[in-house]
């Protein structure tokens, strides 16, 4: 039992460090973790879950707007702006950066660039979602084994 907890904790630490190192997360995610305490034990998961829902809605809406003829760049820019704010709030740095590029292409009414950014956004979101879900899975296993989740 103790050996499993120690291994899980080490694995969690390594995974989280890798996410920071590869740029998926930035300091804002650490700030988010600091807000979790006894009164709000599931704050991080709640915010991330909300982010996942927002992301899927926004990506769907942006894809639909790009299929319209003529393309409503202003509407797409609003979605990209919204997505940029969400990703910045949770510290999803790579997603935030692609949103910024996306907005530049919307400003320039560059359809090809927008299409490329949307595709890249979908890929980045998918990678981030898998990594975060793995992170939360490890945390759940540690809690189930009676251990404490290590801070960064």
């Amino acid at each position: 039992m103790t050996m499993d907890v120690v291994q899980l904790q080490r694995k969690l630490r390594e995974h989280q460090a890798a996410m920071f190192q590869q740029g998926f997360l930035d300091d804002q995610f650490s700030q988010l973790q600091k807000l979790q305490d006894e009164s709000t034990p599931d704050f991080v998961i709640e915010v991330i879950t909300m982010f996942f829902d927002d992301s899927e809605n926004l990506l769907k809406n942006m894809a639909r707007c790009l299929e319209q003829v003529p393309v409503d760049f202003k509407q797409i820019d609003a979605h990209a702006h919204q997505y940029k704010g969400s990703s910045a709030s949770i510290g999803a740095a790579r997603v935030k950066n692609v949103c910024a590029t996306f907005r530049a292409f919307c400003e320039a009414k560059n359809l090809e660039g927008c299409m490329r950014c949307l595709s890249q956004l979908q890929q980045e979101y998918s990678l981030l979602k898998n990594a975060l879900q793995y992170l939360f899975n490890l945390q759940q296993q540690i809690k189930a084994a009676g251990g404490s989740i290590p801070t960064q």
Binding site: V47, M50, G85
Partner: protein, 739 residues
């Protein structure tokens, strides 16, 4: 018988013969008697004659022989029996003595021959002694000549005089026709005619140094006879008609010139020689004598010694002159230093008594003015006056600290302080100045930087303020970034600080702060001058009106904190990066939880407990709204949220003290601010309206100020940042973060 006349004609013949015999016997007897007298005389003269007995025998022999011949005089006539007896006796004695003498001579002849040999030996010996006496006299005269020459040569320490005197004295002593001195040229490949006894102005006459005759002379330390026709000897046409005089040459050792820093001599690194050539008069039968050659050799050695002394003297004279110059310079420097000290003391007195007090008055009055009812613009101006006054007061204190730094009396005051809070204070102090110049100011403090550290907080803040203040001062546009993180050991391997390799430990670490601007930049050649206090070099474009004081103080503080500071710039107009590393202590972990959690917030609002503070958050982004709400609730606030302007306007009430609103969605946020103002007619009843934005454009800030917002915060917002923001807002009721 007398009557017989027939034999009478034979009597005259016998008579003549008898007369002849008679005369001869007489002379024989005379000679025989004189020889002993000569022998006696000879023996008296030579006192060492060893054979006196033989001499007596010989004398007796001679005397007896004379006696027999004398007696014969009476035997020519009829003689008596007595005469016959005497004659017989005499002859018998003569026979005996003659035989004895003959036998004795057999023994003494070898001795006499030996005496003769010894006489010859003595004669030769005498001749030899006579020659040696002559030689001794000659050598004595030579020695006298040498002493006289040496005295003349070494009576001066001037090289030119030494060489000229040598030639003159040699010419006089040896009655030379010509004497010449060849010196090696600077290249060392030729010999140049430098001095002559009679020929005038022998300039530019050179011969190759590798001539066989020169090699012959240089390879020997003796005077060498050379041909009168060789190049170094044929200086001019023959003065005589028949034959030139005999010529000798000798080498003169020169100094190892590299051992002496004599700049006007040829710079040759190997041992070299000069060549001295001496010519006897033409048409004379004179030849070089051994003692004359010896004289020449001795003189050559003396010349070498004299030249060496001359060189040493020249070097010592030069060293003396140099020391005199250095002493003059030192005296001047000492007087300048004394003047500088007096000037500094006067300046410090002025700073202390005449500038600090009025500055305190300005600061106090500005603080009082800040508490009155002001518009946002007026408040910003008063804030700027206050910050500038504080900066100026800091500069005055810098000057006073500098004097203590210089005499070593300043000591760091180590205490535990909040490191993150320190950087927030720096930002709060610099932002008003930066905003006036419309500069973007960003700060990044690494998350792994310890929250608390042990060190001199005041001096560390002063250093950071100096560096950041300079960046703001010399930037007309663009951005300034402040980065702070723990210096890793690998980052110490920097070419700029090769000797700086400290290692962090469990109780201390190294803080690295980097301030980067896009300002006027510095010529890389002028960077070293930045740390020189009061440098007023006109070519330093970065200091057109500055005193160059801050960086000098920064360096001293950083050095006191066991760190290092340096400046990088690619050139004029290329911006500037100032980096420094300082050593800070890490508080013991056992004491970590005992430290009071009191962030350094200026003003009277010392409490960070926002329990019960009613805050309204308006953000149409659900995720952002949730994060901001969580952050405020974490700080103890009572948070209400709204997802649209209409909802916000409907919910906002007198109970809310602060309204945070997102202004990224077009004009909706600005319209909301205006309507909130309209809703609350009294200023003191209105909640503080703070914009939240991720937009770094200047127009956003201008729009916020125009519609009467009280603050602008850049997202993302961390816990510490929000805590500082709330404290600042409740304290000053205004906070515009630089964008």
């Amino acid at each position: 018988m007398e009557s017989c006349n027939c034999i009478d004609p034979q009597v005259p013949a016998d008579d003549l013969l008898m007369k002849y015999q008679y005369i001869s016997d007489f002379f024989i007897a005379l000679a025989y008697f004189s020889i002993p007298l000569e022998l006696i005389y000879f023996v008296k003269k030579s006192a060492v004659f060893p054979y006196r007995w033989v001499l007596v025998q010989f004398g007796a022999f001679i005397v007896l022989c004379g006696a027999t011949h004398l007696i014969n005089l009476w035997t020519f006539r009829i003689h008596s029996r007595t005469v016959a007896v005497v004659m017989t006796t005499a002859k018998v004695l003569t026979a005996v003595v003659s035989c004895a003498t003959a036998l004795m001579l057999v023994h003494i002849i070898p001795d006499l021959l030996s005496v003769k040999t010894r006489e010859l030996f003595l004669k030769n010996k005498a001749a030899e002694l006579d020659r040696e006496m002559g030689l001794i006299r000659t050598q004595e005269e030579t020695g006298r000549h040498v002493r006289m020459l040496t005295h003349e040569i070494r009576s001066t320490l001037d090289r030119h005089t030494i060489l000229k005197t040598t030639l003159v004295e040699l010419g006089r002593t040896l009655a030379l026709e010509e004497c010449a001195l060849w010196m090696p040229t600077r290249t060392g490949l030729e010999l140049q005619l430098s001095y002559t006894l009679r020929q005038q102005n022998p300039v530019g006459y050179t011969v190759p140094i590798h001539l066989p005759v020169i090699n012959q002379v240089f390879s020997s330390n003796r005077a060498v006879k050379i041909s009168p026709n060789c190049p170094v000897a044929r200086l001019r046409p023959y003065a005589g008609k028949y034959m030139p005089g005999a010529v000798v040459a000798v080498r003169v050792p020169l100094l190892h010139l590299s051992n002496f820093q004599i700049y006007d001599w040829p710079e040759v690194s190997t041992r070299s020689y000069a060549l001295m050539v001496l010519m006897l008069p033409s048409d004379s039968a004179r030849q070089w004598h051994v003692h004359e050659l010896e004289l020449v050799e001795v003189v050559a050695d003396q010349v070498a010694v004299a030249l060496s002394h001359a060189a040493i003297l020249e070097e010592s004279m030069r060293a003396r002159d140099q020391l005199i110059e250095q002493n003059v310079a030192l005296d001047l420097a000492r007087r300048e230093a004394e003047t500088a000290i007096r000037a500094r003391n006067d300046f410090l007195a002025v700073m202390n008594h005449e500038m600090r007090t009025p500055m305190h008055a300005v600061i106090a009055l500005s603080s009082l003015l800040q508490e009155t009812d002001l518009t946002a613009e007026q408040r910003l101006m008063v804030e700027t006056i206050l910050k500038s006054s504080n900066l100026l007061a800091t500069l005055i204190n810098d000057v006073l600290d500098l004097s203590r730094l210089e005499d070593g009396s300043l000591q760091l005051e180590a205490a535990t302080f909040n490191l993150h809070s320190l950087f927030r204070e720096v930002l709060n102090l610099i932002k008003p100045v930066a905003s006036v110049k419309k500069l973007s100011l960003t700060s990044h403090v690494a998350s792994d930087l310890p929250m608390y550290a042990i060190g001199d907080e005041k001096r560390l803040m002063q250093t950071i303020l100096n560096v950041v203040g300079n960046a703001v001062k010399f930037s007309k546009e663009g951005c300034i970034s402040i980065t702070a993180f723990v210096a890793k050991p690998e980052s110490f391997r920097d070419a700029r600080i090769p000797d700086f390799l400290p290692v962090p430990s469990d109780n201390h670490f190294y803080l690295r702060v980097q301030v980067k601007d896009s300002g006027s930049g510095i010529n890389p050649q002028d960077i070293p001058k930045l740390f020189t206090k009061f440098a007023q070099n006109q070519s330093l474009t970065r200091n057109p009106a500055g005193s160059g004081l801050g960086l000098a103080i920064c360096r001293r503080f950083v050095n006191l904190m066991e760190g290092h500071i340096w400046v990088e710039s690619e050139g004029i107009g290329k911006g500037c990066t100032v980096t420094f590393i300082v050593k800070l202590g890490i508080p013991d972990r056992s004491n970590e939880f005992k430290l009071p959690f009191v962030p350094k917030v200026p003003g009277n609002h010392g409490s960070t407990n926002f329990a019960g503070l009613k805050v309204l958050v308006m953000d149409d982004n659900g995720v952002s709204r949730t994060v901001t709400k969580g952050l405020l609730m974490h700080l103890g606030c009572d948070v209400t949220t709204a997802s649209s302007s209409e909802e916000c306007l409907r919910v906002v009430s007198l109970e809310h003290e602060v309204v945070f609103m997102d202004v990224c969605t077009g004009l909706d946020g600005y319209e909301l601010a205006v309507r909130i103002h309209e809703k609350f007619t009294k200023h003191q009843d209105r909640p503080l309206i703070v914009a939240l934005t991720g937009n770094t454009k200047k127009v956003t800030k201008e729009n916020c100020m125009r519609v009467g917002m009280d603050g602008l915060i850049l997202k993302p917002v961390s816990v510490d940042k929000m805590r500082g923001v709330l404290s600042e807002l409740l304290e000053r009721r205004v906070l515009f973060e630089s964008v």
